[in-house]
């Protein structure tokens, strides 16, 4: 192609290497700079647990654990996660053994439609890792980044309250 074709006149955008430990597995990927972590997971890696609710960091349905901390995957550029450890809802269970937080959500019927649930559970595990929620009110406040349009809040709160002690056991934090 000659340098005068329209294609050649376009700026070129390089793909950037991205090394991730994703749900315990080392992955070597390449991403365009504007790919969000959420789009990478859902569109390229077929991990569709994290949901695109609002795509603006307001609903929490995309919550994942980045180096053990809960973040909104929709407002995270994948390219900026190079070298990170990432846990999604798909990586919380150990084989067929559910994470204690997953058990508690089932036991307390902490969902109706289930759309927000992967984000709720990842957020709740992040809350455990932070170790700042010691009362019911603190759980409520520190789960405020996750909306549930079905209004299952009271059951979500109950599930987290019950799961907190079990999750605080060594090795049960998840997502570290």
């Amino acid at each position: 192609m000659s340098a005068t074709t329209p294609e050649a006149a376009q700026p070129t955008f390089a793909r950037h290497p991205l090394r991730l430990t994703l749900n315990g597995q080392d992955r070597q990927l390449e991403v365009l700079p504007w790919t969000t972590l959420l789009d990478l997971l859902r569109e390229q890696l077929d991990l569709i647990g994290a949901k695109k609710g609002c795509d603006h960091g307001q609903c929490g349905a995309c919550t994942v654990l980045l180096n053990g901390k809960r973040v909104n995957a929709c407002l995270t550029l994948a390219v900026m996660c190079d070298g990170s450890e990432l846990t999604t809802i798909e990586g919380l269970a150990s084989g067929d053994e559910l994470h204690p937080m997953q058990h508690a959500f089932i036991k307390h019927d902490a969902f109706q439609c289930g759309y927000c649930t992967p984000g709720q559970i990842c957020s709740a595990v992040g809350l455990v890792n932070e170790d700042r929620a010691h009362t019911t009110d603190e759980i409520r406040e520190l789960m405020s980044g996750n909306l549930c349009r079905c209004g299952a809040y009271s059951n979500i709160r109950d599930a987290i309250e019950e799961a907190l002690p079990a999750c605080r056991q060594p090795g049960q934090g998840g997502g570290r």
Binding site: F13, P33, T36, H56, V71, L75, L77, E130
Partner: protein, 329 residues
């Protein structure tokens, strides 16, 4: 989101040399990426500063703290020295955003948040802040969340940060590095009023990077309170917020700081009112008089007149809580 080039420098010098009018620094990205998704901001080049060595909180020689620009909002709010010495700052940070966003958002980035004015955020309508000279639909439109103090004919937007309200009260100093060297900016001078150039939120030049925020020794730990009033109990921007901090000299006020959020283009501080409080015995009447004085020049719009009385009452309550020890939320 528009396509852009991406670089990740590993020194502050390299970062500021890469910067230009069409570039943006990115750290947490919680506001910048949102603005890019809305086509409000379309940078050609993002400079990822998360590899820079700006993550420490260190004690300064004069008893204060130097907070690296990349310290996350969550780490700062829960830092033992902040909780002990500057509980006002801890409270203000925890009153803002959500746990996820506080994990991502950086100290420097919090200062550079842009207004959540609906018209600024909607790229299909005019806005003098987004496109200088295009007009301000908020003045005659829906202006319930807008400014009552310090606004101009061009812009009635408010600054959205909670953290900055506390930093203004604590007289923080912003450390900045540019291509031509480093400088410090007093917090009161960092953000601007809109005036004739509402597109400029602050005093930074295109090549300048916030490297740290310095807190002076005075933390008002025994008598401070951050009160935030909003439309729902959590995860919402302030309609009005108050950072109140007192030093007590026996039964009377020895020193006072009083800053409002949610009412102006920057954290709103009136040092005349602070000085008037010195020597007074804390009382509802005293605090009401201070509140009236602070709001006397308020110019409400069609839908936000309620903010005047709300701010007055919030000031009385926040000062009262601060005087009593400030530990209630």
């Amino acid at each position: 989101m528009n396509p852009f080039q991406y670089s990740k420098p590993d020194s502050v010098q390299d970062a500021v040399h890469l910067a230009g009018p069409a570039s943006r620094f990115i750290a947490g990205g919680t506001n910048l990426l949102d603005l890019m998704k809305e086509n409000v901001t379309r940078p050609e080049h993002l400079i990822d500063i998360t590899g820079l060595p700006l993550r420490e909180v260190t004690e300064t020689a004069d008893g204060g703290l130097l907070i690296g620009a990349l310290v996350s909002n969550a780490d700062l709010a829960w830092h033992p020295l902040i909780e002990q010495r500057y509980p006002l700052l801890s409270q203000a940070i925890l009153a803002g955003a959500s746990p996820q966003l506080r994990n991502m958002a950086s100290t420097g980035g919090n200062l550079l948040q842009r207004t959540r004015c609906y018209y600024f955020y909607d790229a299909s309508v005019p806005c003098n802040k987004r496109e200088p000279g295009s007009g301000c639909p908020a003045r005659e439109g829906l202006n319930r969340i807008h400014a009552i103090l310090g606004a101009s004919a061009q812009c009635v937007a408010t600054h959205p940060s909670d953290m900055c309200v506390a930093l203004a009260a604590l007289e923080a100093v912003v450390h900045v590095q540019g291509r031509d060297g480093a400088r410090t900016i007093e917090f009161a001078d960092f953000h601007r009023l809109p005036g004739e150039t509402p597109d400029r939120d602050n005093q930074l030049d295109d090549d300048e990077l916030i490297t740290a925020v310095e807190l002076p020794a005075a933390g008002f730990a025994n008598h401070s309170h951050y009160l935030k009033v909003r439309d729902r109990a959590s995860f919402a921007f302030a309609l009005v917020s108050v950072a109140a901090a007192l030093d007590m000299n026996g039964p009377v006020i020895g020193r006072a700081r009083l800053v409002l959020g949610g009412v102006a283009h920057k954290p709103w501080r009136d040092q005349g009112v602070e000085e008037w409080l010195v020597g007074k015995v804390p009382s509802r009447e005293t605090f009401s008089a201070a509140a009236d004085a602070l709001l006397q020049d308020a110019k409400p719009l069609e839908h936000n007149a309620f903010k005047v009385k709300l701010a007055q009452r919030a000031i009385v309550r926040a000062l009262g809580d601060a005087a009593q020890g400030g530990q209630t939320r």
